[in-house]
Symmetry: C2
Subunit: 519 residues, 2 copies
């Protein structure tokens, strides 16, 4: 589904399947208000689900070596119904492990919403630091993603609400807990300290796992984890406000051009002729049936650009230049006065959708053929992350989070009713600092302020050992990526801080173990 | 099922349903080894289940006033299967509550395996201290007990393994979490601190809830909670060793008489004539079909006597004198030389089974007509607490915990396979001090060393705020009972310590809230 270069069509359906934004009927910008749609409210939640459908055929770096194994898991850890078990895939490397007797640490990445090999390939930090720690590395896959399918196949696992019922964060954490406990027992490595890693939803899992299973892991590096993006803990506008700021800081005129473009697109798309013009200007394959589809496509591009606004060229979601937003804005701003907004916008997003400049006849906005993804289900059950777009600060069309339409859409799509308050009941979130100041330890919350998800992250130290590492120039869990020769100093320093903190956890743990065993 | 006085028959079936002990075939004391039975291995787990079947008709003290309410709960908090909801009963008193604005605390007792009214009646400590704290008091009932039956009735809830599938500790904790969160929201009391209380299994729930839901409760008084009685964390002999020590400390000859009695009973019961003699000597209703039934009945008496070996007369499980073991032993030792072991034993246990001295024709050993209790299910799924009886230290017949027969029995009785390692995976237990020294806060583990469950309790301070209050002369969660004029000083002091610690938690919480809100 990801970009395939050198052919006539760039398939961007992945992104469409993730973000198809429309607006609430109350929006004053809408000339012809549409009926509330599921998509509008679930949109931002879906950004976290970006990994779910990534095509495995996308080449993976071969630099990280691991063995692939499978572990039999219960479908329901919290009950005793007679349900079938399933095979959870996990990747493991013990090459550098100090072994059980020398208390070799175990680094466990909490697999998130996608193929675990893809996360392994994009989490170079863990692979790079493991040898110096003498650590084993494990990447367990999240249930219902990749190859870890209950009921034997993706089709059967995703059949209906009943088959999807056990796709929850709590069950996934229990999978990790059971797996690592069994693995340690088999290796007589019960005493070896486990350190958790995770980015994005995986970072949420890492933090929650440290809180829920302190007896299983001694600490967690939770990167770009929006654990506060629930209910009313943070304002619902943070996501789009941050995306907008990322553009504004590069260029006010770029920000303004984008802000103006929605009306222009909307107005142009009101006639058949106008739609044809949009189709032509944006080189969309087939004919646009609604200007909204185009707006969604653009919204998606801007949002992902903000997430991966890395300081050097990368190929995380798409091949992109370093500081891609700067490039996009440079392009948008580069035209002589009088150039239409639409032309500018097209030139800008081409940086995102076709940076390699391959010969592209048209962009395909066709939706993902696989239909609903696992993250759609998670967003419709537990991961209800309210998102609005403010009229004043955002460059996006104003919209208010509308829970009723959200709920309605979930009911229609999955026959399920979301439980928007369950995550904070299960894991907390409200009043986090008071709670965790007097409870818990050894969590690093790392966030880059360019990342729109940082708005839902923990940005202040909670206690001596629950710390926030915030970087002004960081994107979405950049710290977890492999080091490059182009890493700016602040990134090198951030990773060094993380290494020092993790080393400190392990040292304290070992000292305490030694102290108690000598008593 | 509990003692009914003044009639011709004392029904003791409750205790039989709880403890029906036989021995593993490897036991050297057995002349005719029996095939391994379920009962043998599940026996001690069942002691914790003593509350399950207590007859509601037993008069409850009327001193505590509360309103009875019901709350709609999901059957499965950790999944989205389309299951029916159920009504959870809870008792609530807000008479002394300071209210939301004044941050009035909320005292929540974690209901355990029985009718919640019975726990409310036997947890005077909470009722007595609530007014001075300005605290609201809530006693939510544990699912599948009392009136809190899924599927609409006890019969339907207890129909089979599938209907019982969601009777787990994790689900019960989630019930408490959801209930209190909803209740606080409705009262705009989100900021009010919740303090947890619990005794026995309820104490385990209180400690686990503090660990799993630190955002919901600021601390827990976990009384007589054997959270370490799993797997190999403590030796499986602790329970019977402690019961035995309780008798030994009163009288060595009493201990020896009991230790000798098992062989005498076994030997006598080998013939039909001998069984008749046992039936007669122990005034058993009907005819004993096996001496084992008698041994089980005696084992049960000694074990409960150890649990409720309180320093003053009580009526917790049975009406008993103060220091009942002293009384039992005095009786056993009181006979002239030459009196048979069997006569001595009968006289001794009569203190337990018929202290009131009502005119009793015979004791009824018939099993509980209700069949399996909820605790039986819990013991067959999560609450696998290995129990052995050591040949050297115990006054009971030697026996080794035999997991295979345990498992076999559970399969036969419920069609379920126990998961003996799940509790420690979910809640921890191994290496508790290392884990909790660096994680968690505000838990009091109180234990009385006369209580056989103290062997599985936390008996050492873990950190400054995770403390162990251990009393040499205390029984099973005596501290949670209402104060009496006969309370010894150490008990008064213990309760005072608990009050001070709880007051400290609330004070720190309020100060931190104030500090953060002024920032």
């Amino acid at each position: 589904m990801a970009t395939t270069t050198g052919t006539a069509t760039v398939t961007v359906s992945l992104f469409l399947s993730i973000l198809i934004l429309s607006f609430s009927p109350s929006s004053p910008l809408l000339i012809e208000p549409k009926a509330p749609e599921l998509r509008s409210s679930r949109a931002t939640s879906r950004f976290l689900g970006k990994f779910a459908e990534l095509n495995k055929s996308k080449a993976l770096p071969k630099s990280y070596q691991y063995e692939t194994r499978y572990f039999t898991q219960r479908l329901d850890h919290f009950g005793f119904s007679n349900l079938p078990t399933f095979q959870q895939r996990y990747l493991i490397n013990t090459d550098h492990w100090l072994g059980a007797e020398r208390m070799g640490p175990i680094f466990l990445y909490c697999g998130n919403e996608g193929d675990i090999e893809w996360f392994a390939a994009n989490t170079g930090f863990v692979w790079e630091i493991a040898p110096s720690f003498g650590a084993m590395v494990i990447f367990p896959e999240h249930r219902y993603y990749g190859e870890s399918m209950p009921y034997g196949s993706r089709d059967l696992a995703y059949k209906n609400a009943d088959s999807l019922a056990h796709l929850t964060a709590g069950q996934a954490l229990a999978d990790f807990a059971v797996l690592i406990t069994d693995l340690k027992r088999n290796l007589s490595a019960e005493a070896c300290p486990v350190v958790l890693f995770g980015g994005s939803y995986g970072g949420m899992l890492a933090a929650w796992m440290r809180l829920k299973y302190p007896h299983i892991a001694i600490g967690a590096l939770s990167a770009s984890a929006p654990i506060l993006q629930f209910e009313d803990i943070v304002p619902p506008e943070t996501f789009y406000d941050i995306v907008s700021n990322d553009f504004k800081r590069e260029s006010m005129s770029c920000f303004n051009t984008i802000k103006e473009s929605w009306d222009a697109i909307e107005a142009t798309g009101k006639t058949a002729e106008g739609l044809l013009q949009l189709t032509h200007t944006f080189r969309i394959c087939g004919n646009l049936s609604s200007s909204q589809d185009l707006s969604d496509w653009l919204d998606s591009a801007y949002s992902y650009l903000a997430m991966v606004d890395y300081p050097y060229p990368s190929d995380f979601l798409m091949p992109l230049p370093g500081n891609p937003i700067k490039e996009v804005c440079r392009k948008i701003d580069s035209f002589p006065d009088g150039t239409s907004v639409l032309e500018r916008i097209f030139a800008g997003v081409s940086i995102y959708y076709n940076y390699t400049g391959a010969a592209v006849d048209c962009f395909d906005l066709t939706d993902d053929p696989h239909g609903m993804s696992g993250w759609d289900w998670q967003a419709c059950t537990e991961m209800v992350m309210p998102t609005s777009s403010s009229k004043s600060k955002s460059m996006f069309p104003a919209s208010d989070f509308d829970y009723s339409s959200y709920q309605e859409g979930c009911s229609k799509d999955f026959g399920v009713n979301p439980r928007p308050r369950w995550i904070t009941t299960e894991f907390g979130g409200h009043d986090l600092r008071t709670v965790l100041k007097a409870f818990g330890s050894n969590i690093i919350f790392s966030n880059g302020l360019l990342d729109p998800w940082s708005g839902g992250g923990v940005l202040q130290n909670v206690s001596e050992s629950i710390v926030a590492l915030v970087t002004n120039e960081g994107g979405h869990h950049l710290d977890l990526r492999s080091s490059t020769t182009e890493d700016p100093d602040w990134l090198v320093e951030q990773r060094e801080s993380e290494i020092q903190l993790i080393a400190g956890w392990i040292k304290s743990y070992n000292e305490e173990k030694m102290r108690l065993s000598s008593m």
